[in-house]
């Protein structure tokens, strides 16, 4: 027989907890998903990022001592249904000229992406097998996970706040992977996305990298609208540990064109070996 007094106290406590919960006094992380944030992310996902695209990409890799290496790549991409195909050829430096990469990024999460590479000196194409996308793209701070589209069902989204980035209002949305498999796939334990309120473009992102305790800062420096598509033409990616910069990548795209009527044949191993 519980003491009447204790019963009353318990009721009071439980009542307070419910009220507190209702008033939102519990941390947001405790709740699974924020519908407002999810809606925004759905719009981000649905945003038209263009098709039949060609561009010249320049990549500057900067190490922790500030030493630079430059690469120039010509890139082509096209959607085949929901799958994204990408073809890239190195233009510079000279010792890797005409090396080519072909990627099929499948929308189906159960299907591993395919990647082929062609080394001119080897005169052979090799398929690269990797089970996760956390690997670096060409030695840069960009990973394949960064370039692939996210499956919204893999994450919980919460709205952190709204703020201003370079004169544009953004939402800060926190994205937490729902399973260990997703963390393994992307290499990130958590991300915060800065979404532009006017065009649903992710203008900045901070990623918590699992291996090594780094933070990765993705900053789209220049955003342009080309043929009606919003595209980042300059992007800086910085890997930091505390205040120290471990590595940095500066990417820029020139001559970005859409709707170039690219053929599916372009995105083939045969074409990879043939070159530009």
């Amino acid at each position: 027989m519980i003491n009447k007094r204790i019963q009353r106290i318990l009721t009071l406590v439980i009542g307070l907890m419910i009220t507190a919960g209702g008033l939102g006094l519990f941390p947001a992380e405790g709740w699974a998903d924020d519908p407002k944030a999810r809606t925004i992310m759905e719009k981000v996902d649905a945003r038209d990022d263009g098709d039949h695209q060609t561009a010249d990409m320049e990549m500057i890799l900067i190490d922790k001592n500030g030493k630079k290496r430059k690469r120039k790549i010509s890139s082509y991409s096209k959607y085949k249904a929901e799958d994204k195909q990408r073809l890239m050829f190195f233009l510079e430096p000279a010792d890797v000229k005409d090396s080519g990469f072909l990627t099929y990024d499948y929308d189906n999460p159960d299907k591993d992406d395919d990647q082929w590479l062609y080394l001119p000196a080897l005169r052979k194409t090799k398929r690269i097998a990797s089970s996760d996308k956390s690997g670096s793209f060409m030695g840069s701070d960009l990973t394949y996970a960064d370039m692939a589209s996210r499956d919204l069902d893999d994450y919980d989204f919460t709205m952190k706040k709204e703020m201003d980035v370079k004169g544009h209002a953004v939402w800060l949305i926190e994205s937490i992977p729902r399973s260990k498999a997703v963390i393994k796939e992307t290499g990130y334990t958590k991300s915060v996305l800065f979404v532009r309120q006017d065009n649903y473009f992710v203008i900045r992102a901070v990623h918590w990298v699992k291996d090594g305790g780094y933070l990765k800062y993705v900053d789209v420096k220049t955003l342009k609208q080309i043929d009606g598509i919003w595209i980042g033409t300059e992007m800086h990616i910085t890997k930091k540990k505390g205040k120290k910069i471990a590595h940095k990548t500066e990417l820029s795209w020139k001559n970005v064109r859409f709707n170039q009527n690219l053929d599916d044949d372009l995105f083939s191993v045969r074409r990879l070996e043939k070159g530009l």
């Binding site: 001592n65 030493k67 080897l122 956390s134 030695g139 800062y217 930091k240 205040k243």
Partner: protein
């Protein structure tokens, strides 16, 4: 000379009167000053790393730091697991859990590698696979066999992650390079692209390393089991073990020396104040010295562990001399003021002189290129000097405020006279048998010199630990099973961007690696030599259907940059560990067992020669890494030891000559002390005891201390000789007056060193034993040989030139 001496004695008397007058102010001011020093003590740091043996501005250390800035730390923690069935599902499951546990729960780890995530690069049909070895977890025996074959067939795994007999597998932990003291308060604010200034990069601190090792050990204990025997080694483990034992020993010694001193003082003076007051004085000196070390940001290192007990033991002698005279004067019926005046007047000068000689001996190794030895020398000299200052200022003030009655002579007359009879006998024996004693001692000296010439230096920090210490056993086990546990690093700088794409350079590196792996010099062997070439060979083989004949540097130079590009795209960041981003500098790592640094002399010369021959002038080759640091320490230590011995010997001899006032007698006075030191060093050579940076200190420390006895002896001998004109009589008087004080202070001092025999650290054991022996033998020599020499010389010439004396 006597006029000056008189003047000084009078000055001390006046000084002591002033102290008496302002006794309370003196005590207060002194305690305030000491208080300031004490407030700094909590900021004292420890540093038991190998790097701490070199000065900050040493070129070797600068090279090492530049290397670590580029490639990270090379002092890896190696955890080896012994098991009869490494390639079984059960074992691998446990290994995975162990690996994950270490990865998740050990702080300051940058990377952990084991069979679980070892880079596996291979071709399969038309695919190139670069991934973790156990990415696809084996599910049956067949798959286990494939894994086993892959592992045992990979030269990069052999003797790194798996032993040749497959009974040992290892996990290698690389600690973070820098201290993570600057975490961002708001991660979201990190878009500011300004870089933290480079000089803010502090290497991982001693504290942090200890923390890491602590967590590793905790987790290791959880997994240790039959058929899962775990051995943990690597420089971080060694240095944190050294630190732990160092602190333990230091605490023990402090307590023991305080006890010894207290007992010694009580036996001598039979009153509590005679124990308490001098203790206050030396403790003030000690804490002030420690405070100064904290102020000057000098960390406590292995050699400086002897500092506290040293300052206490040495500092107390000054008080003993002052107190002896003080209590004697009180007993005669003087009042406190008078007694203080007398004691200070008579002993003040002598005490100053003896401290100066001790400090000079210690300061002589302030020039040592071995940083902790230099620090020990300087701060020990500071400590004994502070002790002197406090003895002359604080002690009289404390005596002035302490009530003191003259004690009835509690010493039984028989006790006193028995000791006196012994002293008398010594005097008679030594002066009567002067020739025999002198000749015997000269023979001993010659034998000692002969033995000393055979001394060879040794530096092996691991051997300082007791044989049963786990890290010592583990290191030896891992050195055997995995062919080494520490590394030498060679940086090959091609001098231009992409210089490492050059096929000739790569082939040369490959050739050198094969040659070097065959080196064997006694118990020194090379376990593994690796560089970026290994990664290139791996990729080349994988791109050619894993055919073993392709495990070579590509013959087409055009393939090299492309294959490396491919590797960069694979997601592995292993290239960062072996080349810089410009492909200009390559890191060539040579794995070796942990041996006495002296054994690496020949190897280092050999490697130098090989690389010079192979690369010529165009390519800059430099050696660094942990073993090079240890080796450099050896070279510095030997060089500095020789230097400091010469300096100490010269400086102190000159001081003694000046103090005694006669070249002849001065040199004569040094002989017994030199004999004692050389004799003990000779024993080290004969019994093959370690002659390392600790035992090497003995000579410099002992000279300063032993000479103190000589100075007191001569100070009094001169007085009595001038009175009696007879050596025998003068010796007797000297022994009867100062003999007892000399005996007690020597006993206290040598016990202060003998207590190191209780050290858990073996280097301290030998250091303490041998220094104690030296001091004790020096007293014996001073009692027997000095009178003998004086008697002998007196037969042929005037001992002291005629002086007008006012004594």
């Amino acid at each position: 000379m006597p006029a000056i001496r008189n003047k000084i004695e009078k000055w001390f008397e006046k000084f002591s009167l002033n102290i008496f007058r302002f006794r309370w102010a003196t005590i207060l001011i002194t305690l305030v000053i000491v208080g300031v020093f004490v407030s700094w003590i909590p900021k004292i740091t420890f540093d038991t790393s190998n790097e701490s043996f070199l000065h900050e501005n040493s070129p070797v250390l600068k090279d090492y730091n530049a290397f670590r800035d580029q490639f990270g730390r090379d002092d890896l923690i190696i955890i080896a697991i012994k098991s009869t069935n490494v390639f079984s599902l059960g074992f691998l499951e446990k290994l995975k859990n162990f690996h994950d546990n270490l990865r998740d729960d050990v702080p300051h780890i940058e990377e952990i590698t084991s069979m679980i995530n070892a880079r596996s690069t291979r071709g399969e049909n038309d695919a190139l696979i670069v991934g973790d070895l156990l990415e696809n977890w084996p599910e049956n025996q067949e798959q286990l066999e494939i894994i086993k074959k892959r592992v045992m067939g990979n030269p990069l795994y052999l003797n790194r992650l798996i032993s040749e007999n497959a009974q040992f597998t290892s996990l290698v932990l690389k600690t973070e390079t820098y201290s993570n003291t600057t975490a961002l308060d708001d991660p979201l604010a990190g878009f500011d692209e300004s870089q933290a200034p480079a000089d803010q990069n502090q290497f991982l601190s001693d504290e942090e390393i200890s923390e890491t090792v602590y967590h590793v050990k905790k987790i290791v204990e959880k997994y240790r089991d039959n058929n899962f025997e775990i051995y943990t080694a690597g420089p971080p483990v060694v240095s944190s073990t050294l630190k732990r034992l160092m602190i333990k020993d230091q605490n023990l010694f402090m307590r023991m020396i305080v006890l010894t001193i207290a007992i010694g003082l009580f036996v001598m003076f039979r009153r509590i104040s005679a124990v308490v007051l001098p203790m206050i004085v030396v403790v003030c000196a000690l804490v002030s010295t420690l405070g100064l070390m904290a102020i000057f940001k000098v960390p406590l290192k292995m050699p400086t562990v002897v500092l506290p007990s040293f300052i206490l033991a040495v500092g107390i002698a000054d008080s003993i001399h002052i107190l002896t005279l003080y209590y004697r004067d009180l007993a005669i019926g003087g009042d406190k003021k008078q007694a203080i005046q007398t004691a200070m007047g008579h002993s003040g000068l002598a005490v100053v002189l003896t401290t100066l000689t001790t400090a000079a001996g210690l300061a002589s190794f302030g020039i040592s290129k071995v940083a902790p030895i230099a620090e020990l020398g300087i701060f020990a000299a500071v400590g004994v000097t502070l002790s002197l200052i406090f003895t002359l200022i604080l002690l009289p003030a404390l005596l002035a405020v302490t009530p003191a009655k003259a004690l009835k002579s509690s010493r039984t007359s028989s006790g006193k006279s028995r000791f006196d009879r012994i002293l008398k006998w010594i005097g008679t024996f030594s002066t009567r048998n002067a020739t025999a004693i002198t000749i015997t001692c000269i023979l001993l000296l010659m034998l000692s010199i002969a033995a000393v010439s055979r001394l060879s230096f040794t530096h092996d920090v691991l051997k300082w630990l007791p044989e049963t210490e786990p890290v010592r056993i583990s290191t030896e086990t891992i050195d055997n099973a995995l062919k080494g546990s520490v590394a030498m690093e060679i940086i090959v700088d091609t001098g231009r961007v992409n210089g490492l794409y050059d096929i000739h350079t790569l082939n040369t590196l490959e050739q050198l690696a094969r040659e070097i792996e065959n080196i064997r010099q006694g118990d020194l062997f090379v376990g593994k030599a690796s560089s970026v070439v290994d990664i290139l060979k791996e990729i080349h083989q994988a791109l050619n259907e894993n055919r073993s004949e392709y495990y070579v540097v590509p013959s087409d130079p055009a393939l090299i940059p492309q294959e490396l590009l491919l590797f960069e795209n694979s997601g592995s960041d292993d290239l960062e560990d072996v080349v810089d981003s410009q492909f200009q500098k390559a890191r060539f790592t040579i794995k070796v067992p942990w041996l006495d640094a002296v054994k690496y002399v020949a190897l280092i010369q050999d490697l130098s020669a090989r690389f010079d021959r192979a690369f010529g002038k165009d390519i800059n080759v430099s050696m660094t890494g942990m073993m090079t640091i240890m080796f450099s320490t050896v070279v510095s230590a030997i060089y500095s030891a020789a230097q400091s011995y010469v300096i100490a010997g010269l400086v102190i001899t000159i001081m003694v000559i000046l103090l005694i006032g006669s070249l002849k007698i001065g040199l004569l006075a040094m002989f017994p002390n030199m004999l004692a030191i050389l004799f003990v060093m000779g024993l080290v050579a004969v019994f093959n005891w370690p002659f390392d940076m600790f035992t090497m200190l003995i000579g410099s420390i002992a000279i300063g201390l032993c000479v103190d006895n000589t100075i007191h002896f001569m100070h009094n001998f001169r007085r009595y000789y001038r009175k009696t004109g007879n050596v025998g009589k003068a010796v007797e008087e000297t022994l009867l007056t100062t003999g007892r004080a000399l005996f007690i202070s020597t006993v206290v001092l040598s016990i202060g060193f003998f207590i190191y025999a209780f050290a858990s650290m073996k280097n301290l054991f030998y250091f303490g034993l041998l220094t104690g022996m030296t001091i004790a033998l020096a007293l014996v020599a001073n009692f027997f040989l000095t009178p003998a020499l004086l008697a002998l010389v007196a037969r042929f010439s005037n001992l002291f030139p005629r002086e007008v004396s006012n004594d």
